[in-house]
Symmetry: C2
Subunit: 327 residues, 2 copies
């Protein structure tokens, strides 16, 4: 199956996704009329075939992943989704059928998360398909949540559960992975979680209301906790047994892969630093939003990487963060 030219691709697949201010993608740019009393939060992420998704992944999940990794950033800043622009470099294998499914995925997520397409660019490349999204969200003036405002004495929380996406990636690319011991349904869930992040958008207002600092967990829980504490000028402790491992993965908690679950990528959960006085309210807000939050440790004065305690001892970790590499 072949591919239509770029103008046809835009007209056929992307024009139907254009929201208010995008002029049906028939202008050179979109217009935003900012609402008084709101600040904007801008984030950009790029995903590439073979690095952040696999060439054979379903195109609708590729589209959703490209959008959701950005939605995850917005949620961690306390920002409500507003709009996004989409630039794609289409590799030689991309067909009209692929594009139709890709656009369907975007349409579904636009409805699900209340975000509109503002514009973009479509080009052809002989290399890997690359999808670049810039997303814009809004917060009430001055209410953006930062990575660098955590305070020693805060509790460290994480949303949802950790590890499924990393296990899913191993299942997809490593025939020797111990996660092949998972039963079929749990294995399927892990692979789906790798392909299709579940950004904690429902937690956005709880983050905005209660977090001193927050960031999304995309490159490994431990390494991202290091980044949050380093940005805030403090250090911290994580209690391994308090980390909410994804369903089916608790059985690996005492094995050699346990460390990789908490340093592997693609969780797209939120790490939040919460004053002890706000902890109860934050936990309740998480439950109301349908996204449980777990207290996994605390922040302390000092410098240097976060220590992870297991069975009363500090875990010696090799890699602390996940680096997205060609698979």
């Amino acid at each position: 199956m072949s591919r239509s030219d770029e103008l046809t691709v835009i007209e056929r697949y992307f024009r139907p996704l254009a929201g208010e201010g995008a002029f049906d993608l028939s202008d050179d740019a979109a217009r935003i009329v900012p609402e008084a009393g709101l600040d904007q939060v801008i984030t950009s992420d790029m995903v590439a075939s073979g690095v952040h998704f696999l060439p054979d992944d379903p195109p609708d999940t590729i589209a959703r992943k490209a959008l959701r990794v950005n939605l995850s950033d917005l949620a961690s800043k306390g920002a409500d989704p507003f709009g996004y622009s989409l630039n794609i470099a289409l590799g030689p294998d991309v067909t009209d059928e692929w594009l139709a499914a890709f656009a369907d995925g975007l349409a579904g997520d636009q409805k699900l998360y209340g975000i509109r397409l503002l514009g973009g660019d479509t080009i052809s490349t002989t290399g890997a398909t690359v999808v670049s999204v810039t997303a814009i969200g809004t917060v009430p003036s001055g209410r953006m949540v930062h990575r660098f405002r955590a305070v020693a004495g805060d509790y460290l929380y994480v949303s949802g559960a950790i590890g499924a996406a990393f296990a899913g990636l191993e299942l997809l690319v490593d025939p020797e992975s111990p996660f092949h011991g998972l039963d079929a349904e749990k294995a399927q869930n892990c692979m789906m979680r790798y392909r299709l992040p579940q950004p904690a958008v429902a937690l956005t207002h709880a983050i905005r209301d209660y977090a001193n600092a927050a960031m999304d967990v995309s490159d490994g829980l431990v390494g991202d906790a290091d980044k949050l504490t380093a940005a805030s000028g403090c250090t911290g402790t994580i209690i391994f047994d308090d980390i909410p491992l994804s369903e089916g993965l608790k059985e690996f908690a005492d094995g050699p892969v346990a460390q990789r679950l908490i340093t592997g990528g693609d969780d797209y959960e939120i790490l939040a630093s919460i004053s002890p006085g706000n902890a109860e309210a934050f936990e309740k807000a998480g439950l109301s939003a349908g996204i449980p939050v777990s207290r996994i440790g605390w922040l302390a004065e000092g410098k240097g990487p976060v220590q992870v305690i297991k069975d009363g001892r500090e875990l010696a970790l090799g890699d602390r963060a996940y680096v997205h590499r060609e698979q």
Copy 2:
């Protein structure tokens, strides 16, 4: 020469470029506090190695081109540059030396055009290097210039000169091109113009004040005029001899490549539709801004592609627009 890891790349080369609201790229997102009375104009363009620039092009011109193609869109909408986000997929050949020169190019253009880096993402790919920019500009409320508001009876104007970039590309990739007949200095100018567009940013306010409709000329003058008239529900006429061909290219005006000069890509000039009553003021504003504008035709009621008249007859054109393809 090798390449540092992505975090080091960001810290070393991109952090120094971060502007107000970008938090030294140490947060997950940037913040914009919109100014009352201004609308925002958002545009996105992607350039890929081998398609929009050549793999051996100097990295500083690649960076500038990626930014300038977006600045050209903003100018054509009457929008002043504000900020941009930058996503790059780095191919295997990209070294630290390359990145240092790339960042230098951005730094130079940030000063030249008054635009700040807001954030972005850096990933690695085994394919072609791809640079994706989303640029944000501002206009006074309601003053964005559109592609679709041209009126039959308007004069059609183009800024600067047409053809040099296309001739430059031919000089770079086609040993048989007739443009090899140019003297060395003119040939050099053409190649430089391909690598380094000169967006008509200085014309921004003239466009905003006088144009009924405008767009930038990136995919060939004739095809872009077709797009402007189609979007506005009219048609038009261009007088070939009134098209301002770039220096040195007038000698080709009667040869077989003349048509390709007015349908080739990468001019990054502005096409504007001006009411006759505003024509004189627009021309004066262009001279004041240091960018002469040329009246090349007019718009008329009707449908269908713009006709190009040469020596009293309609030119039969093959391709009307330029398609960026792998070189």
